[in-house]
Amino acid sequence: MKFIHTADIHLDSPLRGLASYQNAPVKALRTATRDAFTNLIDEAIEEQVDFCIIAGDLYDGNWKDYNTGQFFIREMSRLNKAAIPVYLLHGNHDAESEMTRRLTFPPNVHWFDNKKPVTHRIKELRVALHGRSFKDAATVENFAVNYPDPVAGWLNIGVLHTALEGHAAHARYAPCSLSELTAKRYDYWALGHVHEHAIVQRDPWVVFPGNLQGRHIGETGPRGAVLVKADETRIVSVDRLIVDVMRWESVNVDASTAHDLPAVIALATGAIEALLSGSADNKPLSVRVTITGRTAAHGALFGMDAHLREEILALAATLGGDRIWIEKVKVETTPAVDASQIRERADAIADLQTLLDQVQADEVFMRSLAEDLQRLTGKAPLELSDAVPDFNAIRSGDVSSIVQSVTPALIAQLAQTS
């Protein structure tokens, strides 16, 4: 017997942070979450699994397009034709979706109730699936403690959308502890909510399959579901089933040895080549290039940011063709010559640095700078606040952190200029 366990599909939710440009593989990646889900259904049919489990967050609650539901039904119908039942529950993201209430599903789709835990039995396989859906998005009740006792002599699977304990990066919905899950004496806990794949425990199995498709730079690496094999009494194996259609990767370019922009580009070439050669499955990559290190090129990088980005984009097009989409070129270098060394020079640059060290004490200037920048943030959509961390500082009127980060770059740029 074998089944697929998946979760956090977030159908039709977009990839975030990708700004298109001339050579970016734009069209191929507009429907990545859908395509990944289709891949999963293809795998289920090809593998002839006995059933599928979806442990919550099928789609996003604030996503209104009914086509998404129709698409899901279409894919479920394919499973229905292949006689593969699906057991699914609502998580925090799809609990309150209108689509959840209106859609008419094919007979192979079985929901877990949101009022109390229920058990679905598959007699011919002697499998019992226990689970409970979220009624509200912000469910903080411990569901697990009230799950039913296991059915004796059957394979018992608990399906639950939870942050479990220790996943600070995710909201603590339906909190519970590992010991509480263990105490239920089920054979397998099919969890959802945490987007990173994790086999939390092997006896009994407690598994997060991770989300099907990475959607932003915080979700790097391969993504997919898990294929679980079992005999009548126990789980035999749990293997990852990678179905994503594009992958997020972060490339670090250590520019410590570079003295100018061409040298940084040369180092970036090596880093991107290494990324491409290390990625065997030829999937499109969305790449963040972060330039780091204490480098003599710090000033040049600050002054030629746009040029740097153009060079990296051209580089990606040359090396990866339409396989690479550069998400962002982030410069996080520090100057090769630190403040104390600049001070030792005792020249005009050093004087300028000494003056700039005092700028934060000039309240009038700092207030004026904040007000100028607030003209930008005042008209910007709120969604930008997540993408531009400085917006929060500007809106609060405290721009000291911005001044602090810009000053060394400015000094380095002037010291480099001849």
């Binding site: 700004a19 507009r30 009914y66 086509n67 998404t68 039904i73 030792e344 531009v388």
Partner: protein
């Protein structure tokens, strides 16, 4: 830091060239060279020397990169370092001896500076002067920028600022524009929002669409039912019309069959079969008769042919003898030819026999006498061997004689050579003495060094001036750190600069206050405006009288006039105030402005006092520090120079001690060496003068040892040569004996071999060789004669005999009558007769074949007749008749019945096909129940009904298609997902633009703020000093530099000697370059006052100056050379006298 020597070892065009920059009165050095002499190379060399040779250096055109070398001796505060710089990324610093130096070896000399800083701050050339001049013109509205650019040596500050502002403007600004990245992305976002709204589908939309489809489907089903009813009636009427005629035909045929009664059923093809048989029978009988007649005729012609059987029997034998006859037809003539050839060969043999002196003999006797081939070969081999052996014997004899002469000569030379020896002790002493080198020169150098070091110490002590404690105290002093002193100096300089700025500001403010006061007084005099205080005062006086009246203190009658007077005055004052409101306001404005100036003056005065206090406090603190060190009165600004002088004194003292020690060591070494050498010579018994110097002793010892060594070497060489000559003589003697023995052996063999071939043993080798050649020729001729006789003549005679015998046998068997004829004639006759017999035989064979063919054809025709008769026999039996006529009548009846039956079957099939699977009975009932005449009208009616229902159906179908289309559009499309992806795309672009804008805008603002502050702190001292230099460079054309503080934008101007102000745009290019130079030098002087010193490299600065201005420029550099080393590169040798005029005749001039 300064450079003492620069070694251009392998760099650019230079090879092992050294430029020296000794420290004179002022540290100024002029490097002169024509164009292409290497000035720019020298400048780059200093940069590469200090900070490493650049990776992509272009100075490798003579020396490859791997061999590029620079060297130098540099010094800083009394410490010197000599090093070599190679081209390498790491490990590029080496000592002169080749030892690797740490990268940090230059750290104290360079004090953390980098290449860019050194080049910008301490390097200046004509190109940079021009760029700088243009840059300050471009920045003429910003004094801060001018000062900063000049001080930092960066001409592109304005460019950086402009780039920052321009980039910020392309990203975002308050004014919306599509060209700005943020707004462009914002427009994309709006479009994506609209697209999302247009394509997103809510759950209710889908429900509505689905209900509509269901409703239309119900209507469509009802219409479909009605259509089916009409269609069924139409089909029934069509069926009746279709099957009624077929039903009628069926009934008619069935009646005809009934009438025809019983019929013998014969096969369908019976009639055809009968006709075919009758036709075949007639043809076969005709052929049978024709072929029988032809056979009879052929048989008769065959009987007439006759053949010669006897000849035909011996056909092969006759052909064989005919073939043999052809082969032997020329044999008799050939035999005669060969016999003649033999006669000719024999005559030649007889001639050869006579040539070697043999008697004439028969062929057989001659053959027996001729020697065998092995015997002749032996003689030939010995002939060839003779020359080799003879030459070897002669050569060996001659060589033995030469070797004997060599040996004798060597013995003579050995006897004449005499040998002498020296003891080993003398050799050891000589080697040690030579290793010490030139002791006298070493001692002299050490002595000179001590004298120089003493003078240097004296000079160094003198530089300390009145702060000169004894050397022990000086060494033991604890001094404040260089950084601490520099910090103090910086604070002091800043405070002084601020004092000057504040003082100037105060003067300006006081001047403005005085002007303001004068303006107020003049305005007041001109307009007499009523102030608020005057009005209040007039009203107070009026109200005072009125209060006295109200309180009863005064009677109305008493003060009425006074009250009226004050009332009137107050009203007049009031009226005037309001009539002259504008003047009053103007006056008040002037008073306010005056008050603001006073306020500024008061604030400035407070800052001056605070500044005075701060400077006094710093001075007191410094006085305390110097007092504690015993250096009371040493000014702060002189302290670092004093420290450097102190370090030089201590360094000089250390150097003196080292030199004295070295001198002592040299003297002691010389004494010890002389004693050792004298002792060794005495031991060897070599006489010398007891008062001889070390050098004399060294010469005597060298002669003795070198002479002994040479003699010994000669003796060894001669002995070696003699041994070699003796060995060679022995070997040559052995070789001569061996050659003689071999020759003797050959002579014995020769006698035996000549006897074997019947030649005289006295015959020499050459004659014997000729006789052997003749013998070989005779042998060949005899062999040819033998071959002609045996192989040719006798073979042909045998062939002729065999032919005669074969002919006799054939003739007796085949034609005995020809036995009387000759063989060849008989063969000819036989051949002719055989040809005729063969022709007869051929005719007989052809006729037999024809006869066989005719007989076979006649037989075949008979068989066809039989087969035709058998074919029709079954039909006759089936019809039970005996002849063909009866059979033909029965066949016609059978065929008619078959035709009627087929027509009935066709009618039945038509009924079945058109009857829509109804039974025959049902169809007959349906036809009977329908009036056939009405059918067309009924069908037309129904067609109208059907058409109406179809139209309704079409309308519903279209409606359904539309509704279904709407529903199907909500079938899981991804349009909304794509629109949302485009939204995120736009948001990402906006975020990128905003993120960069925040950085760039902030940087731009910070830069502007910092430059303003920089101007506030630096403009006083820097402009004052720059003004002085500018005055000198322009030969007094300009007095100083001024700033107009009252303008909103502070403008830098030059004050003409005549009092006129000239702004930057008004200056000529050359003047502006001079201004930039003045600013750079002023900034450099200020920097040197507080920072680390490095050499200033000036490259052809005064390229466009006339002599006077060039002198002024050199004077400006003279002041700089008091603070740091100045290396002035120029291709103008005419500047040398000018430099000597400024720096003194001993100024260091280096020629390239």
């Amino acid at each position: 830091m300064r450079i003492q020597h620069l070694h251009l070892l392998r760099y650019g065009k230079f090879t092992d060239q050294t430029l020296s920059f000794p420290h004179g009165g002022r540290d100024f050095h002029m490097v002169v060279g024509a164009n292409e002499a290497g000035k720019s190379t020298t400048r780059s060399a200093i940069l590469d020397l200090l900070y490493g040779i650049e990776v992509r250096s272009t100075f490798d055109f003579l020396h490859p990169k791997t061999e590029m070398r620079l060297g130098a001796t540099i010094e800083h505060q009394g410490t010197a370092l000599e090093f070599v710089r190679k081209k390498a990324q790491t490990k590029s610093l080496f000592s002169p001896a080749g030892a690797l130096l740490a990268t940090s070896a230059l750290a104290t000399f360079l004090a953390g500076t980098d290449r860019v800083f050194f080049d910008q701050m301490f390097g200046l050339d004509h190109g940079r002067l021009e760029t700088g001049g243009n840059a300050i013109l471009n920045a003429s509205n910003d004094i801060g920028q001018i000062l900063f650019q000049s001080a930092a040596g960066i001409a592109s500050l304005g460019i950086v600022r402009n780039q920052l502002e321009a980039e910020a403007d392309t990203l975002w600004a308050q004014r919306r524009a599509n060209t700005r990245a943020y707004y462009s992305a914002s427009d994309d976002l709006a479009r994506a929002d609209d697209a999302l709204k247009a394509v997103a589908v809510r759950a209710k939309d889908w429900m509505d669409a689905r209900n509509k489809v269901q409703e239309i489907e119900t209507s469509r089903d009802q219409l479909r039912e009605r259509y089916r009813g009409f269609e069924a009636e139409r089909i029934r009427l069509e069926r009746v019309r279709r099957v009624a005629p077929a039903l009628r035909d069926l009934r008619d045929r069935q009646a005809v069959l009934q009438q025809l009664g019983e019929v013998v059923e014969l096969p369908r093809e019976a009639a055809q079969k009968l006709a075919d048989t009758e036709l075949e029978l007639a043809g076969a009988e005709r052929d049978r008769e024709l072929y029988t007649a032809q056979a009879k005729d052929t048989r008769e012609r065959l009987a007439l042919v006759r053949m010669d059987e006897r000849l035909l029997k011996h056909e092969l034998d006759i052909l064989a003898v005919s073939e043999q006859c052809q082969q032997v037809r020329n044999h008799e003539r050939d035999i005669e030819y060969r016999r003649r050839e033999i006669t000719v060969h024999w005559e030649q043999v007889e001639t050869l026999v006579r040539r070697i002196g043999w008697p004439t003999a028969t062929e057989e006797a001659l053959t027996h006498k001729l020697p065998t081939l092995p015997a002749r070969s032996t003689v030939a081999r010995l002939v060839k061997r003779f020359d080799i052996l003879d030459q070897a014997k002669q050569a060996a004899d001659e060589s033995a004689i030469e070797k004997k002469a060599d040996l004798s000569s060597l013995d003579t030379q050995l006897k004449e050579l005499s040998v002498s020896t020296v003891p080993a002790a003398l050799r050891v002493a000589l080697t040690s003495a030579r290793a010490l080198g030139d002791l006298k020169a070493g001692t002299r150098r050490a002595d000179a060094l001590v004298s120089r070091r003493s003078r240097e110490l004296g000079s160094a002590v003198a530089t300390l001036g009145r702060w000169s404690p004894d050397l022990v105290t000086l060494r033991g002093m604890t001094l404040p750190s260089e950084q601490a002193v520099r910090q103090r100096q910086k604070l002091h300089t800043d405070a002084q600069a601020l004092r000057k700025t504040l003082t100037e500001r105060q003067q300006d403010l006081n001047s403005h206050i005085e002007v303001g006061k004068l303006e107020v007084a003049q305005y007041r005099n001109a307009h007499h405006p009523i102030s608020a205080e005057e009005l209040t005062e007039a009203r107070a006086r009026r109200d005072g009288v009125w209060r006295a009246i109200k309180t009863g203190d005064k009677l109305v009658s008493e003060v009425a006039a006074d009250f009226e007077d004050k009332l009137g005055n107050a009203d007049r004052v009031s009226d005037r105030r309001y009539d002259e409101a504008q003047e009053t306001s103007e006056l008040q404005s002037k008073l306010d402005a005056l008050e603001i100036q006073r306020q500024h003056a008061a604030e400035n005065a407070i800052r001056q006092t605070a500044n005075d206090d701060e400077r006094a406090s710093m001075d007191a603190d410094w006085t305390q520090v110097t007092g504690a060190m015993g250096l009371a009165g040493l000014p702060l600004q002189d302290f670092e120079r004093w420290r450097a002088d102190r370090d030089k004194v201590l360094g000089a003292e250390d150097a003196l001690t080292d030199a004295q020690q070295e001198l002592h060591t040299a003297q002691q070494t010389a004494q010890d060496a002389r004693a050792a050498l004298g002792e060794a010579l005495a031991g060897a018994g070599i006489a010398f003068n007891s008062g001889a110097t070390f050098e004399t002793l060294l010469l005597i010892a060298s002669d003795a040892v070198d002479g002994a060594t040479e003699t010994k070497a000669r003796l060894d060489e001669l002995n070696k040569q003699r041994k070699s000559a003796a060995n060679a003589l022995g070997k040559q003697t052995e070789k001569a004996a061996a050659a003689q023995a071999e020759f003797d052996a050959w002579s014995g063999a020769w006698s035996a071999a000549t006897a074997q071939v019947s030649l005289s043993e006295t015959l020499d080798a050459a004659a014997a060789e000729g006789a052997l050649t003749v013998m070989a020729e005779i042998d060949n001729k005899l062999k040819t004669i033998h071959d002609l006789r045996k192989l040719r003549i006798e073979t042909m005679q045998r062939d002729l005999g065999a032919f005669e015998r074969a002919v006799a046998v054939v003739v007796s068997a085949a034609a005995p009558e020809l036995s009387a004829q000759g063989s060849k004639a008989a063969v000819s006759e036989l051949t002719t007769r055989l040809a005729a017999a063969l022709d007869d035989k051929k005719d007989a064979d052809r006729l037999r074949k024809e006869l066989k063919t005719h007989e076979d054809q006649a037989k075949s025709a008979s068989e066809r007749v039989d087969r035709a008769k058998a074919t029709v026999l079954p039909l006759l039996r089936l019809a039970q008749v005996n002849n063909h006529d009866d059979l033909r009548a029965l066949i016609a009846r059978s065929d008619k019945r078959r035709l009627i039956q087929a027509e009935a079957t066709t009618a039945q099939k038509a009924v079945k096909e058109g009857g829509d699977s109804l039974t025959l009975e049902a169809l007959e009932a349906e036809v009977a129940a329908t009036d056939a005449a009405q059918i067309p009208a009924l069908i037309a009616d129904i067609a109208i009904q059907i058409d109406s229902v179809r139209q309704a159906q079409d309308a519903v179908t279209a409606e359904l298609t539309l509704a279904t289309g709407r529903l199907e559009k909500i079938a899981g499309q991804d349009d909304a997902a794509r629109a949302e992806a485009e939204r995120q795309d736009a948001l990402a672009k906006m975020a990128n633009a905003a993120e960069r804008y925040i950085k760039v805008y902030t940087a731009s603002r910070l830069l502007k703020w910092a430059i303003d502050r920089y101007r506030e702190t630096k403009q006083g001292p820097m402009l004052t000093r720059a003004g002085e230099i500018f005055c000198a460079l322009t030969l007094g054309s300009f007095q100083k530099l001024t700033v107009d503080f009252e303008k909103e934008t502070l403008m830098l101007r030059g004050l003409r000697a005549g009092g006129g102000l000239v702004d930057l745009a008004g200056m000529s290019d050359g003047t502006r370059d001079q201004l930039y130079l003045a600013l750079r030098l002023a900034a450099l002087e200020l920097h040197l006052g507080q920072g680390h010193t490095l050499p200033f490299i000036a490259d052809d600065l005064f390229i466009s100056y006339d002599d006077q201005r060039a002198k002024a420029g050199l004077e400006a550099l003279a002041r700089l050379s008091e603070q740091t080393q100045v290396i002035f590169l120029s291709h103008h040798s005419h500047l040398v006298p000018t430099a000597q005029a400024v720096f003194g005749s001993d100024v260091n001039v280096v020629s390239l």
